[in-house]
């Protein structure tokens, strides 16, 4: 990780004015970590610096060194950020502006973050530090490209996806209030990239991610975020059209690979979000509950109700569950009986691991029915 000729901080003349601070003085601690000499050396200097409160350029060098050895060292990140802000705004409170994007210090910091994010994809701090920087420079567009690239390395990385969602929400959420959650706040001059066009490529982006892996739940969640979660965007005002588009999309994706809980969850999500009864999709779901042999294969292409693909393994338990919900929602004895029939099927044959849950559904359906009957 290090050049052999890289000196310890204790060997560098420019650090000779600092007295390193040991971690545990007068204590032989239980459960010690076996530190490398480089790590012990650098963190001893960090402790000394934090104690003295120094915020100078060499602190950036020190914290970078530590972060590269342990990217989860949140105190090093925190102190680095404070130092960076102090150096960037020596005489005024921090203020976001687009002009910062051409500041050499900012450029160098962002370049370092590009390098570190790829190397330490799974740490909170790399992504959060980026947020702090981008909240200052107000240049979100570059981020979307960067994120796309890092998802190529890890298509389900939680931090990467939530960072993308933060970027979109922060710089172009409904209400347009990008930027208020930063600690510095003089927000009435809106001097930054914001707008609907930041979002313009998002659906294509999701399509591409799902084309790579139709089971990538992070991508499905992102689709929900883009279409439903974040308010209504320009060009999407006709909600009926959007609902229709999304239903066609998800049904088609279910038909490609029916045993995909991500897609069924998305379908349920849309229906609930738009207060659409599940029964409106019953005609689509029903064929997925039959065994494969019993599906008639005519050549009619029905966009509203695409049939299971050739390789589909049926019946599909998500479809069974869905149809049980459709029946239960009828709140009639007949409906509940049909639902119970399916739940029993799931409990004893198609999804035995969740037997207890299906039993629970049976009990609560009976209970609601009784309550309804007694009330009538």
């Amino acid at each position: 990780m290090f050049d052999d000729d890289e000196l310890l901080f204790s060997e560098r003349p420019e650090w000779s004015d600092v007295t390193p601070l040991e971690q545990y003085e007068n204590l032989n601690p239980l459960a010690p970590i076996f530190y490398t000499d480089e790590y012990k050396d650098a963190t001893n200097y960090l402790r000394a610096i934090v104690k003295s409160g120094e915020k100078t350029k060499r602190v950036l060098e020190l914290t970078e060194n530590i972060i590269k050895q342990n990217p989860a060292h949140y105190s090093a990140w925190q102190y680095r950020y404070e130092t960076f802000i102090t150096l960037l705004f020596p005489s005024s409170p921090p203020k976001p502006s687009k002009a910062l994007a051409t500041n050499p210090m900012v450029i160098a910091e962002l370049a370092l973050m590009d390098e570190l994010a790829v190397r330490f994809l799974k740490t909170y701090q790399v992504w959060h530090h980026r947020r702090l920087l981008v909240a200052l420079t107000r240049q979100p567009r570059r981020e979307l490209g960067f994120i796309k690239k890092s998802l190529e390395a890890d298509a389900k990385n939680y931090h990467t996806w939530s960072y993308r969602q933060w970027t979109l929400a922060f710089f172009g959420g409904a209400g347009g209030g990008g930027g208020v959650a930063v600690e510095s706040s003089d927000e009435n001059d809106i001097d930054f990239e914001v707008g609907e066009d930041l979002w313009a490529g998002e659906l294509d982006f999701v399509d591409a991610m799902l084309a790579q892996d139709i089971r990538n739940n992070s991508a499905w969640h992102h689709r929900f975020f883009v279409v439903w979660g974040c308010g209504v965007r320009e060009g999407e005002l006709d909600r009926e059209r959007i609902s229709k588009r999304e239903l066609i999309f998800v049904k088609q994706h279910i038909s490609f690979a029916p045993n995909n809980p991500s897609a069924w969850n998305y379908l349920r999500g849309i229906l609930r979000h738009t207060s659409t009864p599940f029964s409106s999709v019953a005609a689509f779901a029903e064929p997925y509950t039959s065994s494969k042999e019993s599906i008639s294969r005519d050549n009619i292409v029905d966009l509203d109700n695409p049939r299971p693909g050739e390789g589909a393994e049926l019946p599909c338990s998500e479809a069974l569950e869905f149809m049980a919900d459709v029946h239960e929602a009828k709140t009639t004895e007949e409906g509940v009986n049909s639902a119970v029939e399916i739940w029993k099927n799931l409990a004893t044959e198609h999804d035995t691991m969740r037997k207890k849950y299906w039993e629970h559904r049976i009990r609560s359906a009976h209970r609601s029915l009784n309550t309804a009957t007694n009330a009538a």
Binding site: L21, H73, Y74, W161, G175, N217, P258, N259, M353, R363
Partner: protein, 505 residues
């Protein structure tokens, strides 16, 4: 018969390929049907693993967790508790002394000496002290600076009810869970502290039913929080965040009850979709009934706790468990071969299968527990696999009877917050292990201690700690026969290969 694989519909992708690889590995860990022996929890080798970490220390690769020193210690210490082992007084003192090096002068605990205060290590430090500490000089409990912690908490609060995990750091529900546990245990939970927090938690629930790490609030151009603006979750539903959000929701109930009568609209979560999501996280037979953390991801031992442990919490919200069942409704005749399903109190997850996963796949042959084979054991997975196993073995539920007992014993104080404090106290202590409700695969030798579903400490440690900080007496529980305890003697340098254990419960 080989259990069937997860269906791939002749449509392979990266997800289904990773799934198939995992299935192939797990298949080797499914006990052959002709072997009648139940799997054994290898307590001795897990103890050796834990003692080695405690006494000799952690190898260099743990440098990546240098900012999580309180966690390393908490996972280790609490794993001892799960395994019914207590430290001897000398080692307890060494743990206390180490923890106290992490307290920050401005409040809270950091990830190591000289590190900034952070909500996560604050939880791990305080909970470690709950296990090993005591009142009096050097005991830790009286050296916790509660007033400074409260100030630290307030300094992290955001105007949407959420909290930063540390200054200049991110917001997420793990931090909120840690804050609420600590505030509840230490009796520093005030209405001011948690106003708006329940709304924030509720906004993290995704369309799938589980919870995300955080949500993004909407603001007006003038900077005002828009209470009815969209507040999209950041990230998908996730087991760890779901546990933290749900436990936070439970911990916020005393506050929510205290404002029940004012006219503000009340936040709500969708419990049906949450339950549905949780049960779907349990893997099928070929995955040995382990839990996964997200839809279409792989099973992993730590979700035995994050997801498996969440079912107890649901009981506090009226879902599952005998207490929440309507008696005339059970048992019902549902026409199965057995005729009746009468074991309604057994919970809504498959407890049996979850134990199988931890025992068959979660144990590393060289000691310690893990995500899944062929991975190495580590301190984190050892703790959460054991906690998950505990939640699958025991039925710990929020007893209404116990709550009223505790409430009756409350001695009123002149604190203006007395009513809410009383509620916090009685709710956290209402959790009770159901008599005869344990189902332990492999018999009593595999038993681990019951774990408090909210704090993830043992019931006894939670009770002693809370009682001390609220300065209230806890009425005696009707105890079952306890295993006899022998004088303390525990892992120390001289006993590392054969730690003599004190049985605790």
């Amino acid at each position: 018969m080989t259990p069937r694989p997860v269906a791939t519909d002749a449509f392979p992708t990266a997800t289904s390929r990773a799934q198939a690889e995992t299935e192939a590995v797990l298949l080797k860990h499914i006990a052959a049907p002709d072997i009648q022996q139940d799997p054994v929890l290898d307590k001795t080798s897990h103890m050796q693993f834990l003692v080695r970490n405690l006494v000799q220390g952690f190898p260099s690769r743990y440098i990546s967790q240098d900012a999580s020193q309180p966690w390393l210690l908490f996972w280790t210490i609490q794993s001892f508790s799960s395994l019914q082992v207590a430290l001897d007084p000398a080692n307890k003192q060494r743990v206390i002394d180490k923890v106290m090096k992490w307290q920050h002068p401005d409040g809270g605990f950091g990830g190591g000496p000289g590190q900034a205060a952070h909500l996560l290590p604050t939880y791990a430090s305080v909970c470690t002290l709950a296990v090993v500490g005591r009142s009096g000089t050097g005991g830790g409990w009286d050296q916790i600076d509660r007033a400074a912690i409260y100030k630290f908490f307030m300094s992290l609060k955001q105007n949407d009810g959420s909290f930063l995990v540390a200054h200049h750091s991110e917001v997420d529900v793990r931090g909120i869970y840690c804050l609420l546990v600590v505030a509840t245990l230490l009796d520093i939970l005030t209405p001011e502290l948690v106003e708006g927090t329940a709304e924030f938690i509720a906004s993290c629930q995704t369309y799938e039913g589980g919870f995300a790490s955080a949500s993004h609030p909407s603001y007006s151009l003038g900077g005002e929080l828009l209470p009815h603006g969209p507040r999209p979750p950041l990230g998908e539903a996730h087991g760890g965040y779901t546990f933290c959000a749900l436990a936070s929701w439970v911990l916020l109930q005393p506050y929510l009850a205290s404002i029940a009568n004012d006219s503000r609209p009340k936040p709500a979560i969708n419990i049906d979709s949450l339950l549905r999501w949780l049960v779907h996280m349990q893997g099928i037979d070929i995955e040995l009934g382990g839990f996964k953390g997200r839809t279409n991801k792989l099973v992993d031992g730590c979700y035995s706790w994050w997801c498996g442990g969440a079912f107890s919490l649901l009981e506090a919200l009226g879902v599952g468990g005998l207490q929440n069942a309507v008696s005339e409704e059970v048992p019902i005749d549902s026409g199965t071969p057995e005729g009746v399903w009468d074991d309604v109190d057994e919970g809504l997850l498959n407890r049996h299968a979850l134990q199988e996963y931890v025992l068959s796949a979660g144990q590393h042959p060289a000691g310690g527990l893990r995500d899944k084979p062929p991975k190495n054991a580590d301190a984190y997975h050892t703790h959460y696999c054991l906690s998950g196993l505990s939640s699958a073995q025991h039925h710990v539920f929020p007893s209404k009877l116990r709550r009223s007992q505790v409430e009756e014993a409350w001695e009123a104080t002149d604190s203006h917050n007395d009513a809410m404090r009383k509620r916090c106290f009685s709710e956290i202590l209402s959790w009770t292990e159901e008599e005869g409700g344990s189902h332990i695969i492999g018999g009593q030798n595999n038993r681990v201690n019951a774990t408090h579903p909210v704090t993830n400490l043992t019931m006894t440690h939670t009770e002693q700690f809370v009682s001390y900080f609220y300065k209230q007496k806890v009425p005696a529980r009707i105890l079952r026969k306890k295993p006899t305890t022998s004088p303390a003697s525990a892992p120390g340098p001289g006993t590392k290969d054969a730690p003599a254990a004190t049985t605790t419960s």
